[in-house]
């Protein structure tokens, strides 16, 4: 993790800095700085107290929840403009999540101890914040109800369509399995199934969608 002065950062990323200014009151920004995390680095660690409210400015990250039985579940991907550690702002109990950078990430870091009071009295911030929480609630609910009501193959189809770029799907299988909610073994089995059913074509380690329509039907139907 590398700290960078906010002003230095602002000079190079004017647009992003403008956005930040709209989200946070000036007094709070005075206390803030930039954190850079490299790929696979932990941004927040299970069981450790959260000192900062992070706003993801660049890069992608993933949230794991850590269970009592030691197992982890990948519950959400984070991208630009999403918060990390935001629940500490409203006095939630222990942190039970790991947040890990997927690629190199830049975050705005706001020290909670000195800025909490200030943020909670800023109506504009609170309004945006509520909106953000509501949105996150919906997204997470969606994700999980999908888990519950659709089978693995349906969920996988949906996921591939979400992730795909130019008909191409390439993502670490371990990560896919964790997010879609199944075992690695079963993921492989299902990918082969998709191949046999003429949905995907495999080239090296990439998969290409060759029947998008069918994949879409599979993603939303039970059949």
């Amino acid at each position: 993790m590398k700290k960078i002065n906010l002003k230095d950062y602002a000079e190079n990323f004017v647009d992003i800095y403008n956005d930040i200014q709209e989200t946070f009151p000036k007094a709070v920004l005075h206390q803030a700085f930039i954190c850079k995390f490299s790929s696979n680095e932990y941004i927040v660690r299970f069981d450790e107290d959260i000192q900062y409210l992070f706003l993801l400015l660049d890069g992608r990250a993933k949230i794991y929840i850590v269970h009592e039985n030691g197992k982890r579940a990948l519950i959400q991907f984070l991208k630009k403009d999403e918060f990390i550690g935001e629940l500490s702002l409203i006095e939630m109990e222990k942190n039970i999540k790991d947040v890990v950078a997927i690629n190199d990430c830049a975050c705005l870091a706001v020290p909670l101890v000195s800025s909490k009071e200030h943020l909670l009295n800023d109506n504009l911030f609170l309004h945006n914040f509520s909106k953000y929480l509501g949105d996150k609630l919906l997204k997470r609910t969606d994700h999980y109800t999908d888990m519950q009501d659709y089978e693995f193959k349906n969920r996988l189809a949906k996921y591939i369509l979400q992730i795909e770029h130019d008909e191409c799907f390439q993502k670490k299988h371990t990560e896919t399995a964790e997010y879609v909610g199944g075992s690695y073994r079963h993921l492989l089995y299902t990918l082969n199934q998709f191949h046999e059913d003429g949905l995907l074509e495999k080239k090296g380690r990439k998969y290409f969608i060759i029947n998008k329509e069918k994949l879409e039907r599979l993603s939303s139907k039970k059949d």
Copy 2:
């Protein structure tokens, strides 16, 4: 559904009315009234626009999410002091949930059209509201990660322990199955299993916990 004047209600339920006054600004309460719903009545219906922000004052209700494939999933139970329709306050898209009264319910109804602006500018309300959303987010995440990482029998054990009163568990099986996330058939099978394993005793339509310790172990372990 039966509407009641807020003042009439206030006379009979002084304590509750005091709580309400702490949650909502006066100007907003002027527009509000009380709604009574009877058991099994729909408080909010899938696909219909939400006109009111409800605060549950008495009774219990349940939230279903309605899927594209027509299936419903019971995702949360609501009790006193929980909001209904709160996401409309922050401009969420279509309503995809049914909310159904479990027993007779009394709700405070705040008309969104006239009060929205007001609420979103009230710092105390916003603060409470953020907290509420954060809490709901955590609860729901917990519920669902349980779903994903534990088997039906573990989830059922946990649920029984949550619901149980005086070692007695009685709840509609249909509802239990929907919430715990399994088929009715499998619930029956698992309850019999619990009986054979000396965890529960069945008397008529009630189940009694006869080995709580073992049930607790089952609820949090994978074994």
